[in-house]
């Protein structure tokens, strides 16, 4: 537990450098798919378990991202408590991991708002209209 606290503390301190991105996003994209990160996080990080700065706390800084990737394997390699696989240094180097980080930080999903999405707006309008009778 002490190790966990230490790593998290270091990682959080280093968030002051949150904007630092040392990796290569182009290489990171290749690695993201080659290591099947997309299988849970989706193409472009927009899958069932999305990965973006807004939705995922682990993208705060490179060190936080690295700590998260390594931490799970260090803490509980046999029966981790969530389904995120571990990535040991022997299988994914720091350099490769930071390339993936750079790729994730380069993603920019900018979907239309519900009000600007005709399909979604039509669904919402229909749902609202359905209850008109019950409000009378």
């Amino acid at each position: 537990m002490k190790t966990l606290h230490l790593i998290l503390a270091i990682a959080l301190m280093q968030q002051t450098h949150a904007q630092d991105i040392s990796g290569n996003a182009e290489k990171g994209e290749h690695l993201y798919y080659n290591f099947s990160c997309y299988s849970c996080h989706g193409y472009g990080g927009t899958g069932k378990t999305p990965l973006s700065s807004e939705t995922s706390g682990i993208l705060g800084s490179e060190s936080l991202f690295l700590a998260y990737l390594r931490l799970r394997a260090d803490q509980n390699p046999i029966n981790p408590k969530n389904s995120m696989p571990n990535y040991a240094v022997s299988t994914l180097s720091d350099e490769q991991a930071l390339d993936i980080y750079a790729y994730l930080r380069s993603l920019n999903d900018d979907p239309p708002a519900v009000a600007e999405n005709p399909v979604m707006q039509e669904m919402l309008d229909a749902a609202k209209a359905r209850g008109k009778g019950s409000e009378n």
């Binding site: 080659n34 290591f35 099947s36 990160c37 997309y38 299988s39 849970c40 989706g42 193409y43 472009g44 927009t46 899958g47 069932k48 999305p50 973006s52 939705t55 394997a73 390699p77 046999i78 029966n79 981790p80 389904s83 995120m84 696989p85 571990n86 990535y87 040991a88 022997s90 299988t91 994914l92 999903d109 900018d110 979907p111 239309p112 708002a113 519900v114 999405n117 399909v119 979604m120 039509e122 669904m123 919402l124 229909a126 749902a127 609202k128 359905r130 209850g131 009778g133 019950s134 409000e135």
Partner: protein, 641 residues
């Protein structure tokens, strides 16, 4: 044209050249030709739209095979009476892959009576697993069985996984296995062929006389539809199918007496519902549409807010009914469960554990045990509840409704009306709020490629929401977005899961649901996983051949994706990375063209579609085609989940 050729065409026969498609005019009269061609050549007395088999095709199929020695030119073969029994049971369809052990029965199905091949209609399946999956989907949609013919030991084994899944889901199916150990391959018969599937069928019989056989078919039907519902099997020896029936008549069918709660229990439940200030009814999976309409009637009578499982299973309470939702007040003072738990009372039908003479626990199929069976994880005994009433909920509803009518007063009715109105307003607000939240969460990746599954579900919903539709495919592998984006208001809105998670179920069950939909102005939606389709794709041909209204939208993530995640996870916890997890879990190099697969089976198809801006138009083409009574396949490259 010669007289001989003219006569041949008038008779509906088709030349070998035409069958092989080797002449320019062949298409118009070929077996796979347009219905107009069939209509021009079919004798007017035959009402079936399907072309008859040609002499050439018969020669091809039979070759120099000798007829079995036991065959008799019966004037009134026993199998005709078997078909009469099926008709009396209002069995609409019999699905089968043709075989020798039921040739007598098959011949009767297509030729018996004045209007041959109308009911039950013989449905050609390309695999016995598909036959049973079709029956599984049909029964889920209609709340009643169709029949399946299976060939001896081999057909039963081919179909065994599908039977197992129907058993797990407690879906009624009438299985008939032909048995011939006199004049056919010994290896395709056995003394007790039903033993192959006895551990996961509800009941079986091997009658020794024609009279027993007719009774057994009726009893098999009764057993299948009596809770706990499930597949029931009748083994019919080929001799019984072919023997002369003489003056024998089909016995009158007597429906089963399905037991509900006692009158005193019904009175107590009714009193509690009427006297409660804020009653609640939790509705699980009932058996038939009648059960659903009765549940609605009861909820409206007593002004109870309700919960539903309609987004997960068929035959539950309408999701968007004004009373469905948390209601105006979630402090319920009386909760009745119907085939699900209820805090004060629950009416729970019998489970498979009650079946006598079935090997439920000693076969290595672990979870066929006591209810409630956990979906995931190790088996744990159920927690005893003193509130459970062990009876079929659907059979209990009429008595409860009758008792409510007896005790409800005008002043109580006014109170109930006011409460119902409050529930309606609150449930509507909850539904809108829930949808707003769901849409916000599902915006992400809207314009991404591969295509977001949430977008696929959303755009498809716009196109079908005003149609009578049935979502036949399981949806958990494609995100389950229907649960929050669609309205499940019909007993057949969503047919739920596979039964045991067995892959290959989806396309067959959807085809069966489309059989149910065909004459009911309904369309069937199948969000089809790629791994599932590759197991038994032949149902596409059945859908094309019978002009079934089934839209197949491929959830093509080019993988057995759940297993990809498993392999990736296992490599991770073993410190070996995930860069080889795709081996054995993905469908790459080459990619599979599902549009070409669909076309190969005769289904209008398009794709792959990876540009999200082109999805809606493709879906519209699909829905328009299906509404015209033809299947359509759209291959969509999708996000993994």
């Amino acid at each position: 044209m010669t007289d001989a050729k003219l006569n041949k065409e008038k008779s509906g026969e088709i030349s070998r050249r035409a069958f092989l498609g080797t002449s320019a005019g062949a298409a118009a009269a070929s077996l796979l030709g347009k219905s107009e061609a069939a209509a021009q050549t079919a004798p007017p007395a035959v009402r079936s739209t399907l072309p008859r088999q040609s002499a050439e095709a018969t020669e091809r199929d039979v070759g120099d095979a000798r007829l079995p020695a036991v065959v008799r030119a019966a004037q009134r073969p026993g199998s005709d009476l078997m078909v009469q029994v099926l008709r009396d049971l209002e069995i609409e369809y019999v699905a089968a892959n043709p075989a020798a052990s039921f040739e007598g029965l098959q011949e009767s199905i297509i030729n018996y009576g004045d209007t041959p091949n109308e009911m039950p209609e013989f449905i050609s399946a390309l695999h016995e697993e598909s036959s049973v999956d079709m029956a599984h989907g049909y029964a889920k949609a209609q709340g009643r069985p169709m029949a399946v013919l299976l060939h001896g030991t081999l057909g039963l084994m081919h179909s065994s996984m599908a039977i197992y899944q129907a058993y797990q889901y407690q879906t009624p199916i009438l299985l008939i296995a032909g048995r011939d150990d006199t004049n056919f391959l010994r290896s395709q018969s056995a003394d007790d062929i039903a033993g192959i599937v006895r551990s996961f069928t509800k009941w079986d019989a091997h009658p020794k006389t024609l009279a027993e056989a007719l009774d057994a078919i009726q009893e098999g039907y009764r057993q299948a539809i009596t809770p706990p519902c499930g597949p029931a099997l009748v083994v019919l020896d080929t001799e019984l199918q072919k023997e002369e029936a003489g003056d024998m008549q089909a016995p009158a069918y007597v429906p089963p007496q399905i037991t509900g709660i006692s009158t005193s229990e019904a009175r107590a439940v009714a009193k509690a519902l009427v006297e409660a200030k804020n009653p609640r009814i939790a509705v699980g999976k009932l058996r038939t549409p009648k059960g659903v309409s009765d549940a609605v009637e009861l909820a409206e009578l007593v002004g109870a807010s309700t919960s539903t499982r309609a987004t997960l299973v068929p035959m539950s309470f309408p999701q968007r009914h004004p009373l469905c939702g948390p209601g105006a007040d979630t402090d319920y003072d009386y909760t009745l469960g119907l085939e699900t738990g209820g805090i004060q009372a629950a009416i729970i039908g019998p489970h498979r554990r009650t079946l006598e003479g079935r090997d439920l626990t000693g076969i290595g199929y672990g979870f066929i045990r006591e209810p409630p069976t956990p979906l995931w994880g190790p088996y744990a005994p159920p927690k005893p509840s003193h509130n459970d009433m062990h009876a079929d909920a659907e059979a209990s509803l009429p008595a409860i409704i009758a008792e409510v009518h007896k005790i409800i007063s005008p002043s109580t009715s006014n109170t109930i009306a006011a409460r119902s109105k409050q529930h309606a307003v609150a449930n509507h607000e909850a539904a809108v709020t829930g949808l707003e939240k769901a849409l916000e969460e599902r915006r992400r990746g809207w314009n991404g490629s591969p295509i977001s599954l949430a977008r696929l579900y959303a755009e498809l919903w716009i196109l079908i929401k005003d149609e009578d539709w049935c979502l036949a495919s399981p949806t958990q592998f494609s995100g389950g977005h229907n649960r929050v984006l669609w309205d499940h208001n019909k007993p057949y809105s969503h047919l739920g899961m596979h039964g045991a998670g067995g892959i290959g179920y989806c396309i067959g069950a959807s085809t069966g649901a489309a059989l149910a939909a065909k004459h009911r102005d309904r369309i069937v939606i199948n969000i089809q996983c790629d791994g599932d389709l590759n197991m038994v794709p032949g149902s596409l041909w059945t859908a094309a051949h019978y002009r079934l209204p089934m839209l197949v939208v491929m959830h093509n993530n080019r993988a057995w994706h759940q297993e990809l995640m498993y392999a990736q996870y296992m490599a991770g916890v073993r410190g070996r990375g995930g860069d080889r997890a795709h081996i054995g879990t993905t469908l790459r190099d080459p990619f599979i063209s599902y549009a070409k697969m669909g076309e190969a089976y005769g289904v209008d198809s398009e794709g792959p579609i990876s540009d999200p801006s082109k999805l809606f138009a493709a879906l519209k083409r699909g829905v328009d085609t299906v509404k015209q009574g033809r299947p359509y396949l759209i291959d969509v490259l999708t996000q993994p989940r």
